[in-house]
Amino acid sequence: MSNFGDTRHERPSKVDELLGSSLMSSLDKLDIIARKIFSGKIQGERRSKRRGVSVEFADYRQYAAGDDLRFIDWNVYARLDRLFMKIFIEEEELTVGIAIDASASMDYGNPNKFDFARRLAMSLGYIALSSHNRASLFSFSDRGVERLTALRGRSRTRDMGQWLLDLTPSGGTDFVEACKTLSTARQGRGVLVVISDCLSEDGLSQGLKYLARGGWDVFLMQTLAPEEIDPEHEGMEGDVRLEDVETGNTCEITVTSPLIEKYKERLHSYCEELRTQCARIGVGSARVSTDIDMETLLVEYLRTRGLLR
């Protein structure tokens, strides 16, 4: 058995290895952006359609019995002799959902896709908690959806990290069922970042529709290993029998330049089709290679993609 695609680096076993202190300091300045305006149960840093308590003025209304006297505009009362209440845009808390594909196909590549996904989830979770948002983590595979919900405050960072460390990739991917579950798992409105290699033979469009209709502001992070992007460059050669780690299907090939070119064409068209589907249903998407620097990804790449600010 060739070691092609096997993870050669050390796997993370501590929370610190998922999120280093230097990266953490860089993430403090970031916040997750929701392209939609949601209402939350408690005041957060997110604008809400509901008028509430904040510093941003929205409108006036006549005083009614029972109103909070602190919001009466006394200057208007002095001029008009009538009581008007100042109405402010309420800043609600945001639910940031992070869903990790925990199927066996994610446990592949060098750097490992699943490790990359955990580090990315850890980083996004930390950003969410730092921004006083509510963070929920999900992992999905054909075994179902595991979750760690309603985390608030930076103090839950370690819990979040430990939960991620405890995840084990195995089994296949049932993306549609997972999306159905995720669409109903929302606690309030929020952003759901799905991290997956998106290599599903059943297709992703139906699942993404479930998520979009469920009220999530969905952002799909397609994560691919370098071995999947350019297998020949990473050392795939000769006559090999490819074995699918999820389905067990085999495919015998002789690695030739024309075959590699054809594979790349298929990969490119598959990704492009996925991106088109996402755009059609209002799902943001990005494609990343696991060998990309995490800070670069978060600070530069995802900011330009509008997921972070």
Binding site: L199, E232, E243, E246, I253, S289, I292
Partner: protein
């Protein structure tokens, strides 16, 4: 195409081709590789789930090239060969013409003999080209044919020996005769086994004639049972050539110090040729004449007559001997026949001794000749002079109606009487007759009109060895020439008094010719140009034991003089001036010219041997060719291509890939 070692190749192919397939399958025992998903690969490759052996044999350039290379190797081991005609087993006799006409250079500057050798070697390859892994049966014999035939190599199956023998054949300047070659071949084909009773058996053989077809005696031959002839035409059917057909030099009878040169020129081309003819004496040019030689005349059918022009140079004075040479200043296919030489002896008056019975018929004629001395003696005195040897001081001894007891070395003109020579022995008295056929080209018979001669009686003689009939009568030979044992005799077999000859003009002409012919026979080496293939014969005084003959190319041959003072060297191999050296006398020069027949260079497209007409073989251009070196070369090319494709695949896999995939969008 045939295969020399077909079975070897098939066995090898049956082993190695399945072996390659096996290796291919073994090599296709693919390395398992776990990947995240085969979804995209499946759509990219064509051989999904290809588990059966036949499905595995998908088109693979490298595999096909390897298979091709292997098959080419197998093909090479089979030793394929292309041949012009079906292989012929058994015995073959290669008759290679190396006569003068084979010196012609009518193909790319190479001589016809070179072409003949090339074709002969090609045939050798065809017959014996068994290659490295096998040895084909059959034997081949090499015979060179020219004026005479020579076995270059007896029957052999060694290609190396045969090729070396062919390469060793040298050009000659003589005619081409096949009869000797056939005799030699048949002698070697005859199987004489002392253990087998009965007459010797003759094995059949294939005769392969490499010639331009100009063989003087081909039509006189016939193929024997079991023989077959293949004619390999050498040279082109249309080969223009001009030549000096004949040269003659004569001193004027009335002015012996003046020499006249007669030249006959021939043109074998279809266009007239105008050129210069140079005359030189002892190598110094003394005359130049422009001459136009008419073109070849084509008669009905394929018969053609060469264009001929005769020339006479202005007489020039020559008080001593000298070598006259004429040269055509033209360059054509055969340069050898553009030069002819002749040696002119010094002028000399003759001394004649005459003994005659009866009326002085001969004396009257001799007195009219310009002689240094004419001594007339009685028959008895002549007998005594012959006995004591004093007669030998005369150039010619003339007798009429005299029978001598003995005839020592000397030159004699005898009318009637009986000669003590076996070849001229009378067996009966000849009855009256008329003369019928004369040999007009003989010097003795020149200008002799013999048709009117009637003899009443004479000596009936059956000419045997050494005697040549110069005039044939209705019942018995009338005039003969005998040469042998140091004697040269012109014998008239009847007494002129018994005929009407003394009253005819031809009588004194004959006597003049005969005296001149016999009297100057000491100069025979000079006055008559010899031809290639003949022999240089001479007589030296007593005491001389050896002479040396020097050929035109400088080759020296030392000869021992025979008991009677004669020496003979031959056959003459080359045309040109030969020198005969001896210690006691100045060098004698002998001129040898090319046989005029060899100037006809038009190669025959078919030859007639006996009643069989043999067309030229068509295998001239289709030479036998071994293909295995080409197959090996093709293997190398295929391997080179395979290596190139493999390298391209390997280097293609190392091609620079896209930078960080995160920025693909």
């Amino acid at each position: 195409m045939t295969f020399v070692t077909l079975s070897t190749g098939l066995v090898l192919g049956a082993v190695v081709v399945p072996l390659l397939l096996l290796l291919y399958f073994l090599r296709l025992r693919r390395q398992p590789l776990r990947i995240s998903s085969t979804m995209l690969w499946r759509s990219a490759v064509e051989d999904l789930h290809a588990n059966s052996p036949f499905q595995r044999l998908r088109p693979s350039t490298l595999f096909l090239l390897q298979l091709l290379a292997l098959l080419l190797v197998v093909l090479a081991l089979m030793q394929p060969q292309i041949e012009g005609e079906q292989l012929r087993e058994g015995r073959h006799v290669l008759l290679i013409d190396h006569s003068a006409s084979m010196n012609a250079t009518d193909s790319m500057g190479k001589t016809r003999l070179d072409d003949a050798k090339k074709q002969a070697k090609s045939l050798i390859e065809q017959l014996h080209g068994g290659g490295v892994f096998s040895n084909r049966g059959g034997t081949t014999m090499i015979i060179s044919i020219g004026e005479s035939a020579q076995i270059v190599l007896p029957f052999s199956d060694s290609v190396q020996q045969l090729v070396e023998a062919i390469d060793g054949i040298q050009l000659t300047h003589g005619r081409s005769s096949i009869s000797d070659g056939l005799k030699l071949a048949r002698a070697y084909m005859t199987n004489v086994d002392p253990e087998v009773q009965g007459p010797p058996s003759q094995e059949s053989a294939q005769l392969e004639l490499f010639s331009d077809g100009n063989l003087i005696d081909l039509s006189e031959q016939a193929l024997q049972q079991g023989e077959s002839l293949v004619y390999h035409q050498i040279g082109e059917a249309e080969t223009p050539n001009v030549s000096i057909a004949r040269i003659a030099v004569d001193r004027k009878p009335d002015a012996r110090n003046e020499v006249q040169v007669f030249v006959s020129l021939a043109n074998f081309g279809r266009e007239p040729v105008t050129t210069d003819l140079e005359l030189s004496l002892d190598g110094i040019p003394i005359g130049l004449e422009q001459v136009t030689i008419p073109a070849l005349k084509v008669a009905k059918g394929s018969l053609s007559i060469e264009g001929v022009v005769n020339m006479v140079f202005v007489p020039f004075e020559l008080t001593t001997s000298g070598v006259v040479q004429v040269k055509l200043m033209v360059s054509d296919a055969l340069d050898l026949d553009n030069i002819a030489s002749l040696v002119v002896p010094p002028p000399r008056e003759l001394r004649v001794l005459l003994a005659e019975n009866g009326v002085p018929l001969v004396q009257t004629a001799l007195e009219g000749l310009q002689l240094a001395q004419l001594k007339i003696v009685s028959p008895q005195t002549l007998e005594a002079m012959v006995t004591d040897g004093t007669a030998s001081s005369f150039d010619v001894v003339v007798t009429r109606d005299v029978s001598l007891e003995a005839l020592p070395r000397g030159r004699y003109l005898a009318f009637g009487g009986e000669m003590p020579v076996a070849a001229l022995r009378r067996y009966a008295e000849g009855e009256g007759q008329v003369t019928l056929v004369g040999k007009e080209d003989h010097p003795v018979m020149r200008f002799v009109r013999f048709e009117e001669i009637v003899a009443a009686k004479g000596n009936a003689i059956v000419p045997t060895g050494g005697a040549e009939v110069l005039l044939e009568g209705s019942s018995w030979p009338a005039i003969l020439h005998y040469k042998g044992e140091g004697r040269s005799i012109v014998y008239v077999a009847f007494d002129p008094i018994e005929s009407n000859w003394p009253y005819l003009r031809s009588f004194p002409f004959f006597i003049y010719n005969a005296i001149d012919f016999l009297g100057r026979s000491g100069d025979i080496l000079a006055t008559t140009p010899l031809e290639v293939g003949s022999a240089i014969v001479g007589v030296v005084p007593p005491g001389v034991t050896s002479v040396t003959v020097i050929e035109p190319d400088g080759t020296r041959h030392s000869l021992m003089v025979e008991r009677e003072g004669r020496f003979t060297w031959g056959p003459i191999r080359l045309s040109g001036v030969h020198h005969v050296e001896r210690e006691d006398a100045p060098t004698k020069i002998v001129a040898v010219n090319l046989p005029p027949e060899e100037s006809r260079l038009a190669a025959e497209t078919d030859v007639q041997i006996g009643a069989s007409k043999v067309l030229a073989s068509t295998t001239k251009s289709s030479s036998f060719m071994q293909l295995w070196p080409w197959a090996i070369g093709a293997v190398l090319v295929v391997l080179l291509i395979e290596w190139k494709i493999y390298q391209r695949k390997v280097s293609g896999s190392r091609r620079a890939h896209t930078d960080s995939f995160g920025m693909l969008q």
